[in-house]
């Protein structure tokens, strides 16, 4: 079966005054219909750029993107328009991603208007259906975004993304700006929509508890590269990359009896400008050795579990000895 989306060796470089910034550097993955790929990493790891490059909101520097088996790396203008109906995005900030001068109904109807070919009455009916789907009461039809709270605004963002019945949605930190009780409402809504419509999500976030909850596969990024990729439960149970380990151990757990060893990382993320060819985590890694300054390859440890660390086997064995 052809995957819904396939990305091969995708690169996005930005030129800056100080050199070339490697925002996304050789990322490959596949995503099947109805599934969720979680992309996690800290600020500046390239997760947002990756999402936007896949959607052609930013043009890739190199690499290939296939959608339903078709190469869409360099689409023509017309083709891109059709593509956009299939691939949508939900933005992080429901406060700045909505035009403050449009009403809720106008905002949700906008994609339908832009697509064209639908009588006004049908568009209005569709808008109401969409509002109902995302749980926005009809009385908000003529409200403006500033009159609504963050949760309701994010529901508008979701309705807009759904309007053209896409197959794939990039969700860029869709719940990060929301309070926990509202966050839970939105996550449940997104899961329901996925089930009903067979949507595929690429869920970009820095919140690891959310990503574990919602994803089938998770990809951990560090400075533009994928350091580990695995099915969600597998990643948490059998973490292989030293960076993933540190990242997972840093999450505060809301349970006072949960005692764990925290791996405190030294220093901070290094610069993505003109990076050295070796492992980019090397300068903060407690296991770093000579061989780490060579380029790292993603290797498959168990089926579906990939890791980019030349020492992961050694480290795993050492830890098993320690535990025994």
């Amino acid at each position: 079966m052809t995957p819904l989306l396939e990305v091969r060796d995708l690169k996005k470089y930005f030129k800056s005054r100080y050199g070339t910034l490697h925002a996304v550097d050789g990322v490959s993955f596949t995503l099947d219909a109805g599934k969720t790929l979680g992309v996690v990493g800290e600020s500046g790891c390239g997760k947002t750029t990756l999402g936007r490059t896949v959607l052609h909101l930013i043009e890739p520097t190199d690499g290939q993107i296939f959608f339903e088996g078709k190469d869409i790396t360099r689409p023509k203008k017309k083709e891109l328009r059709r593509l956009r109906e299939q691939m949508q995005i939900i933005f992080q900030d429901p406060y700045s991603s909505l035009d403050p001068r449009m009403t809720v109904a106008e905002l949700i109807m906008e994609p339908l208007v832009l697509k064209g070919g639908m009588p006004k009455a049908d568009m209005l009916a569709e808008t109401r259906r969409l509002m109902d789907t995302v749980g926005l009461a009809a009385r908000f039809e003529n409200a403006y975004p500033h009159e609504l709270d963050g949760g309701r605004r994010q529901r508008i963002g979701i309705a807009r993304a759904l309007a053209l019945k896409p197959k794939f949605i990039v969700c860029d930190e869709p719940v990060s700006a929301l309070d926990v009780s509202i966050q839970a409402q939105i996550i449940n809504l997104m899961l329901d929509l996925q089930e009903e419509r067979g949507l595929a999500y690429m869920f970009v976030t820095h919140d690891l508890s959310v990503v574990k909850y919602i994803s089938d596969d998770i990809m951990v990024m560090y400075l533009g590269q994928v350091v580990e990729k695995a099915p969600a439960d597998e990643l948490f149970e059998n973490t292989l990359h030293p960076y993933s380990k540190a990242l997972l151990s840093a999450i505060p757990i809301p349970d006072i009896h949960h005692k764990k060893k925290r791996i405190l990382l030294k220093g901070e993320i290094s610069s993505p400008i003109n990076p050295k060819p070796g492992c980019r985590f090397m300068s903060r890694c407690q296991y770093a050795q000579e061989q780490c300054s060579q380029p790292q390859k993603l290797v498959e440890d168990t089926p579906g579990h990939f890791v980019a660390c030349c020492r992961y086997k050694e480290i795993k064995e050492k830890e098993e000895v320690k535990q025994a």
């Binding site: 509202i182 839970a184 505060p252 925290r262």
Partner: protein, 325 residues
Amino acid sequence: MAETFLDIRNLTVEYQTDEAIVHALTNVNLTVQRGETLGIVGETGAGKTTIAKSIMRILPQPQGKIVSGEIYFNGENLLALSEKEMQKVRGNKIAMIFQDPMTALNPIETVGYQIAEVIRRHNKISQAEADRRACDMLEMVGIPMERFSEYPHQFSGGMKQRVVIAMALACNPELLLADEPTTALDVTIQAQVLDMMRSLKEKLETSVILITHDLGVVAEFCDSVAVAYAGEIVERGTVEHIFDNPQHPYTLGLFGSLPRLDSKERRLKPIKGMMPDPTNLPSGCRFYDRCPHAAKECAEASPPMVEIEPGHTVKCCRLKGGAAQ
């Protein structure tokens, strides 16, 4: 009995806007003992930051108004002090760390100068002596003192927050108010900063009020917890009370809303609806329309704070006479 270190009594705060009065806090009672770390949790608009700003007396003027109540700090009512006397307390005995390290620093002064400024403000010492102490503070929060003369824009977010913490601790305050100190930081940096704050707190024996919406941070950092909802404290107890035996339906709802790393459940249990409008609060229990256990009596009057076990109080009338669920 020794006097309570910090004792907030019946604190009621309002913000007056052109259109309406926002009831930010209503009859808040809260005590903190010396050396205690209290976490105040709650969602946006629950009044967490207003509590801290009231203690510091830095509510936005002229909108913010303390309607009634007292805040005793070492037996002295802070709300009765003159502004001049308050200036001696602020930054000296009580210090505050703000949420956003990106905007809390002055961009046109070096970080070293900014720390030394706080020290000079509260101690009669020379600039050279203040600079030396500022260097010590930088080292203490893990920043090499060679960076004394650098400007905030040369620091990353985590480093800036360290500078802010160094400033707050520069005069060795007895009470530290930390308002979402790590919310703007990445998790690995958050872990570094919390770890540092924990060791400094123990070293300097500072009492801390940590304001956060992250129950995970509370579990790891705090001794006791106060849960705020719509301007009231609805549950108060030790971390053991709140995490092992949460009783208020709102607290239970908060836990149910969290995606857990250790759970396999496929659906979260969010709290339905939203927090009431603070300009138009219900007269009864403020959690009434969202509560799965709401009964007729809940809408009639604001429930009293009931002690269900020593040190564990809950503001819910359906719990009267023991922990009925």
